[in-house]
Symmetry: C2
Subunit: 360 residues, 2 copies
DNA sequence: TTGTATGCGTTATCAA
DNA sequence: TTGATAACGCATACAA
């Protein structure tokens, strides 16, 4: 990093005690505690005490030290602090896709518990990419954060258990083995609810839209869908799977196109999308091409993000308790870091179907 | 929503050399480099070299050290590393509202440049709250991050300039004084475009919806709106301002309700919302109450988030180059940290109106 | 090529 | 109450 105190283009004012204005010192480097001590005319230890145990210092010295800190623009060095203290008060949440409102709602939930425990939360976006997930997790570990929350691509991946062995870790949004804490929603049940709903409405040809199929969420939702379809006594061949490369709006539109390409008599009359973004894309394509929803095509989404009900045709969706998922994960993390001999939990919430105009 | 939860106790395995399984050491603390050195039968310096300049170490020793690291589950201590090195390779983006897709799109842009420069990016959400913004900024400073990006509540707030004096900082989404780098979009022009569009369509009673009014974005968009309204020769009294407490969907719905409460002959025939979330809320209220859009009420939003065009009635919006805003901010940050004698830039993009069904 | 010693900025112990 | 000093874990110059 450049040495900004000597090279900035904006001229730095000389020392002046204008209130509220930080005075740039002539140090040529970031001021340290001993600089503060010197300026305040006290020892290093006193400065430290002012910072960490102010009650042990006379009021006069507190004031002197604080003045000096303000004058120098002193900022504590977190690395040194942390190296010495050995503990941190930040936690990280590695999210699968920061542009998916589902995950930002989850992270709001996490934030509320983090704030209550006065922990800072850093968000890391892995953008659906395994190598980024690994990099972020590794980085958080190296930072010796107090805890890690993560929505992983693959909850059974070995690196998670390995990390969980050395730092409190909670998986959010997918069920894990008992080696790891997790908070999730029963996706198999969610898949059942979605298909059951379509079956109840009389559909006999349907498609599941989503992918990649190695994503647990996708796998489980398909499984639930198949179970419900079978239990309804319908022909398995009439529940087709339309794979996608991702779970965003664009992929949904593309899937809509592929669907429209099928001959009318084989075309599904209903689709169950692995998430709401796909459903919204599907809906956009339908509207753009004059396909009637739900008349020609019924659409069910998943997650029940706010935009689902705000859509062109409000989208029926399988609702997950998004914020509560985050809060529960946060609580579990706190518990895990406070309790010695912690017993891992796998907390599972139940989803609910919210029927709207896209199927009714 | 009920939930069941299962529990399991995981016994820590004793040392065992099963490949791929991390062996728990008997150290009772996190393994350090000297533990690795001892186990590998080399010196501390060699371990360090394996980590940082592997070419200087014999292949045999590299292997030995890596084995030892794997066996112990060694993880570098970033604090110590950073304290010693004095520089960091993480940057932070303090965003105004992580649940607003506009900002997540901006952050995607930032991510792309960060990744290209192999910097890790931490996202911090200030949730529209000043004290959280300050806390996050302070935390990032204490961490001595390589740079900070921020979309602040108030871009002219003193603390920003103060921070910018000690660490590369770029403000995203609002224009600042020349003491600080910024990347923004001309919101006054955006406001003009929106109102001009409505005027062109023949509207003579309109409302601006948004708030709080001390937000720069809101202020500027109102100003642009007023200018365009005046220039069209229309009566200023017929461009009312409907203040809101925030910029989310709920506030939009609430504003819709207030609007509907006005006597028909005084009620605006068009609204310009300070962002798309408000516009979507407004639209939801309109649809729910049978108000025709755009027949009874034309709606213009701002930001052109993906959900605007996916809405019940695709929403006309003022488009900002969201990802490009982030990329440009990232580039500016890199430049600021690499260049000595850096000259601060205030880069301003131009918005564009995207007309859709909600006004046409 | 490998090993040793020093210091990064802070906190906490302990003596004054 | 205050002040001197020893870690914290790692990276690097320098010695071997």
């Amino acid at each position: 990093m450049t040495n900004r105190s000597t090279q900035g283009r904006v001229p730095r004012p000389a020392k002046q005690l204008v209130p509220g204005v930080v005075v740039q010192s002539a140090l040529g480097r970031a001021p340290r505690m001993d600089d503060v001590a010197t300026l305040a005319g006290v020892s290093l230890g006193t400065v430290s005490n002012v910072l960490n145990r102010p009650h042990r210092v006379t009021a006069a010295n507190v004031a002197r030290v604080q003045d000096a800190m303000a004058q120098l623009g002193f900022v504590r060095n977190e690395s040194a602090r942390h190296l010495r203290a050995g503990r941190s008060s930040t936690v990280g949440y590695v999210m699968l896709d920061a542009t998916n409102p589902f995950f930002t709602d989850v992270s709001s939930g996490i934030e509320s518990t983090a704030e209550a425990e006065s922990l800072s939360l850093f968000l890391c976006n892995s953008s659906n990419r395994a190598e980024r997930e690994v990099a972020h997790l590794e980085r958080l570990r190296e930072m010796r954060v107090a805890g890690i929350l993560v929505t992983p691509l693959d909850p059974s991946a070995g690196h998670l258990a390995e990390i969980a062995a050395s730092v409190p870790l909670v998986v959010v949004g997918a069920r894990t083995s008992h080696e790891i804490c997790s908070v999730s929603v029963d996706d198999v049940l969610g898949g059942q609810l979605a298909i059951q709903h379509l079956v109840d409405l009389g559909h006999e040809r349907a498609a599941f839209v989503g992918g990649p199929s190695d994503l647990t969420q996708v796998k489980d939702r398909i499984e639930g869908a198949r179970q419900a379809w079978r239990e309804a006594g319908l022909d398995g061949a009439n529940l087709t799977v339309l794979g996608t490369e991702g779970l965003d709006v664009d992929q949904g539109r593309a899937a809509g196109e592929r669907l429209a390409g099928l001959p009318k008599r084989r075309r599904p009359t209903a689709v169950f999308c692995a998430n709401d973004l796909l459903a919204l894309g599907m809906l956009q394509h339908a509207i753009a091409t004059g396909c009637q929803v739900p008349g020609d095509l019924a659409i069910v989404g998943y997650d029940d993000i706010d935009f689902a009900r705000a859509a062109a045709i409000p989208v029926t969706s399988v609702s997950q308790p998004r914020a509560e998922l985050g809060r529960a994960a946060g609580r579990l993390l706190i518990e895990e870091s406070n309790t010695s001999g912690h017993v891992h939990h796998n907390q599972v919430f139940k989803p609910e179907l919210v029927a709207r105009q896209s199927t009714l």
